[in-house]
Amino acid sequence: MFSFRLRVYSRTSKAQLEIFGLVMIVVLVALALLFVIVVMSKAPDREEQRIEESLQAANFLNTALSVTLPECNDRAVRQLLQDCAMAGFQDGRFIGAGTCSDGVDTCEKLRSSLDGFLRQTFGVWGSNYVLFMNNSVSVEQIKINRGSCPGEREGSSRPEVVRPGFNVIVTLHLCKPDNV
């Protein structure tokens, strides 16, 4: 009788221990799952940053191309772009580009103006950038960059009408410096 009670008691005790062990495992797994869900459900925090950088790039292009240059007969940078786009490029020189009142040709004036604006804005604010233009041999020689933008980048492109049916695409990419 006594040994029967002992067997029953030891079986019950074992079962309790096993159930307790199972409960602990379930609790641990539930905690781990909760942790994973919390981490994975965090929204990507670069989204607002991307929108801001794209807007900044778009604003920059819109602003820079509309600035008028007193040393170039108060012509807008956009007009210099249009003039430069019609020019040719040979042996490292722009052929047929107009000249500003200070003797600089429109392509060089375009390059120096855009470079100055970029250095005094994104350069000072700590962003790397790449600005380039497509669709015309001469403007394709104008590429301005600070640092490199190998990975993730935001930016903006805009078409500038040179003549009906002839557009130049101006693109600005922004990215964080390499050491950030």
């Binding site: 602003t63 600035v67 604010w125």
Partner: protein
């Protein structure tokens, strides 16, 4: 004796379990703390960005020509006027800009600059700044120059 051993075993398991739980909780709370700090930082940046967007859409500064207006452009003469008005009575615009400071400056050799709005709290933990390019139109000589809007937000 056996029962005591079993009890010690159970207690040991419990101790290990709670030890692991404590380490896990400390780690998780540390992560949450840095996540909260990051959220606060981003909130400050968003505030600055929103204040800048509201400022860009400010009708008082439009470059308007007859019935049309130019995007992303401020009239220099209107900037002169509004900076005087806002400095005299900045509380009127507190609903729009909250605790922030807004400056506009020209990128040029003879650069002009304007302090448009400034309401800073007595103390703040985060100051975020956002910069945006803007076109500045001077009607006196019909010229456009490159400007920058600087918005500081205080959280």
């Amino acid at each position: 004796m056996r029962a005591q051993m079993k009890m010690f075993e159970t207690i040991a398991v419990l101790v290990v379990f709670f030890f692991l739980l404590a380490i896990f909780s400390i780690f998780y709370l540390k992560m949450q703390k840095s996540s909260v700090e990051q959220d606060k930082f981003e909130y400050g940046e968003n505030l600055a960005f929103q204040a800048a967007l509201r400022f860009f859409n400010f009708p008082e500064l439009d470059c308007s020509f007859l019935l049309s207006q130019r995007n992303n452009c401020f009239d220099v003469l209107k900037l002169d006027a509004i900076s005087e008005i806002m400095q005299a009575d900045s509380l009127t615009y507190f609903e729009d800009f909250g605790y922030s400071a807004i400056f506009v400056r020209e990128i040029d050799d003879d650069a002009m600059s304007w302090q448009i709005y400034r309401q800073a709290p007595a103390s703040f933990t985060i100051e975020r700044t956002t910069f945006s390019p803007v076109l500045l139109y001077d009607a006196r000589d019909d010229s456009y120059s490159f400007g920058v809007v600087e918005v500081h937000s205080y959280v």
